[in-house]
């Protein structure tokens, strides 16, 4: 149950990236899963090469994510903004296919893992693994930093301004293209970061990203669009739910429950459970 809570924080982090991009430029980023997978493999490669502490390695991975995101923005997203939603879905998906294709060619689809364990903490009869705690803490710190960035810095304000009204922001002298590129970069960096954290918890393959992408969708929809902290909370909620039901039913039923929930929430609360009913 507590484990679920801790893993949930990582789900939340993954969903924050999706939610940010969605909220700012109204693009559903289907490269998300592939980017999470890249984060996993990035962590694996760095860790096997340097044997440094994975939580330190998180920083270069986030930086790479930012650059990669800006690159993908230029390649596939910039040209389809303002066209029908189908186009942005398809263009991000095509990038997803290319990344997965290259990943499969490089690493096949066999499982990898990052061999790193922190000492756990024992409270009474329960032991919490150190990796889970550290991952959850990292996720929380990144989430708080993002919140600070969005609300306390010039760039963050520019991002929110562009999200609110792109034309008005342009008139105020904000270069919306650069802002969008950076917002997309941050979104991708969050995806890579969460992937890197997941890789310290569970074994993974190049295709694992898809599962976390789907969970991110569930979380984003639960939280409502473009609400990073809401996404974190909803992620924790989803993690708790997983932790709570696992003792009673087989693990293979979990997707059915999650996506049943997802579809029901979509229909009943199109603005998300935490979303306010404003226009």
């Amino acid at each position: 149950m507590i484990d679920g809570l801790l893993v949930g924080a990582v789900y939340g982090l993954a969903a924050m990236g999706l939610s940010l991009i969605w909220g700012v430029m109204d693009v559903i980023n289907l490269t998300h899963g592939a980017m999470i997978a890249l984060g996993m493999f990035g962590m694996y490669l760095f860790f096997t090469a340097t044997a440094a502490n994975p939580y330190v390695l998180l920083l270069p991975i986030l930086a790479i994510g930012l650059l990669l995101g800006i690159l993908v923005y230029w390649m596939a997203v910039h040209w389809v903004l303002g066209r029908s939603q189908l186009m942005s879905l398809l263009s991000t998906f095509s990038v997803n296919m290319m990344v997965i294709g290259i990943g499969t060619a490089l690493w096949s689809t066999s499982p990898y893992n990052v061999n790193f364990t922190l000492k756990g903490i024992t409270v009474g009869a329960y032991t919490f693994t150190g990796n889970h705690i550290a991952a959850a803490c990292s996720a929380l710190i990144i989430a708080l930093l993002l919140e600070l960035f969005l609300y306390r810095t010039r760039m963050g304000r520019a991002i929110r301004a562009v999200a609110d009204n792109r034309e008005a922001a342009e008139l105020m002298g904000i270069s919306s293209t650069a802002v969008l590129a950076i917002a997309f970069g941050i979104g991708i960096a969050l995806a890579l970061g969460s992937g890197a954290l997941v890789s310290t918890l569970f074994p993974f393959t190049i295709l694992s990203g898809a599962i976390y992408q789907l969970k991110s969708f569930v979380v984003t929809v639960l939280a409502g669009l473009g609400k990073p902290l809401g996404a974190l909370a909803a992620g924790v909620l989803l993690g708790l739910l997983e932790g709570a039901v696992t003792p009673f039913i087989a693990v293979s039923w979990i997707p059915l429950i999650e996506f049943g929930l997802f579809v029901v929430v979509l229909i009943l609360f199109p603005r998300g459970i935490f979303g306010r009913a404003t226009a």
């Binding site: 939603q85 263009s91 095509s94 296919m97 290319m98 929809v221 293979s252």
Partner: protein, 321 residues
């Protein structure tokens, strides 16, 4: 009248070619290649009803095909039904499911609907993987005797091939009929501007639910036929997410919203994919190439091959639709 439209006759010409080619040389390998193309055309034509006509992206279209396969195989192997009745029953069952789902899910617009379709695919996959009568994650196998009513396995392969070609022809004709009907015009109106369509008296939710259900029928029949032909089914083959997405690539490649374009895209992409998968040097990169192709089409030629044709040979608009 539909009989005056050249595309109607083109459809039959295509079917005739499909029937004649493998028969001429009694070539089973060619038949197996063509049946894959035919299935791709069935899936893409019906996907086109959602994406091209109504403007709603269905990422989980393959769920109809897989579910149809399961129902069909279950009826044949456990209940002892004959193939044709089992296939039609599978189609009807899946259509009704789609109608019920659709009435709920299609309240959603645009991207939300697209995400919900992914949810449906994953949920159905998870359900079938845990469903005892359908063999959970190991799936179901057909006993060899199941082919007896069609005159043994060898003969049954040819019969299912012709049935698949018939379903393919029906799919294309269905698309043509809907395109020029009042119902089809309503769908186009929803695609262009749903709010305006509602104001003009189109019951958008019902229209969308009906087309969602209609687009489920023939893929489900095709699924029942194909999995009968293969003799086995399991959840990861039946509900392959990638295949669902490749359908969208095919549609974009050929030209969404057009009947012949959808078929052309399906045929071309299917052949390209088989070529890439069998070529030793490129087989690892088939996703990369497909992805690059999709990106190029989306960025530079969003109306697909048919769009080009229309642009350079404007008269072709009247002939090919």
């Amino acid at each position: 009248m539909i009989f005056k439209r050249p595309s109607f006759w083109l459809t039959f010409l295509l079917a005739a070619v499909f029937v004649y080619l493998p028969l001429r040389a009694n070539d089973a390998a060619l038949r197996e290649d063509l049946i894959l193309v035919a299935v791709a055309i069935i899936l893409v034509s019906n996907l086109n009803l959602m994406i091209g006509y109504t403007g709603y992206v269905n990422f989980g279209h393959i769920v109809f095909y897989g579910l149809g396969g399961y129902v069909g195989l279950y009826l044949v192997s456990v209940r002892g039904w004959h193939l044709p009745s089992a296939a039609v029953a599978a189609g009807i069952f899946v259509s009704i499911c789609a109608l019920l789902f659709g009435l709920g899910v299609l309240r959603l617009r645009g991207a939300y609907f697209a995400l919900a379709t992914v949810g449906i695919l994953v949920a159905v996959h998870a359900f079938v993987s845990n469903f005892d009568p359908w063999g959970r994650s190991t799936g179901m196998y057909l006993p060899f005797e199941a082919y007896e009513p069609l005159g043994g396995a060898m003969h049954a392969l040819w019969v299912t091939y012709y049935l698949v070609i018939a379903v393919m022809t029906l799919s294309m004709i269905l698309s043509l009929v809907i395109k020029r009907s009042k119902f089809g015009l309503g769908l186009f109106a929803i695609r262009e501007d749903e709010d305006a369509a509602v104001v003009l008296g189109i019951n958008a939710t019902v229209y969308k639910a009906i087309i969602y259900s209609v687009s489920a029928f023939l893929p489900a029949v095709a699924g029942a036929l194909m999995f009968y032909k293969n003799g086995m089914i399991d959840p990861s083959i039946a509900f392959e997410y990638m295949l669902s997405i490749e359908g969208i690539v095919m549609l974009m490649l050929g030209g969404q919203g057009t009947v012949i374009g959808a078929a052309m895209g399906a045929g071309l992409y299917e052949r390209l994919r088989s070529y890439l998968l069998t070529s030793p040097r490129l087989s690892n990169f088939h996703l990369v190439i497909a992805g690059g192709l999709l990106l190029v089409v989306v960025l530079f030629a969003s109306s697909g091959l048919i769009g080009w044709l229309y642009k350079f040979v404007p008269r072709s608009r009247e002939v090919i639709e």
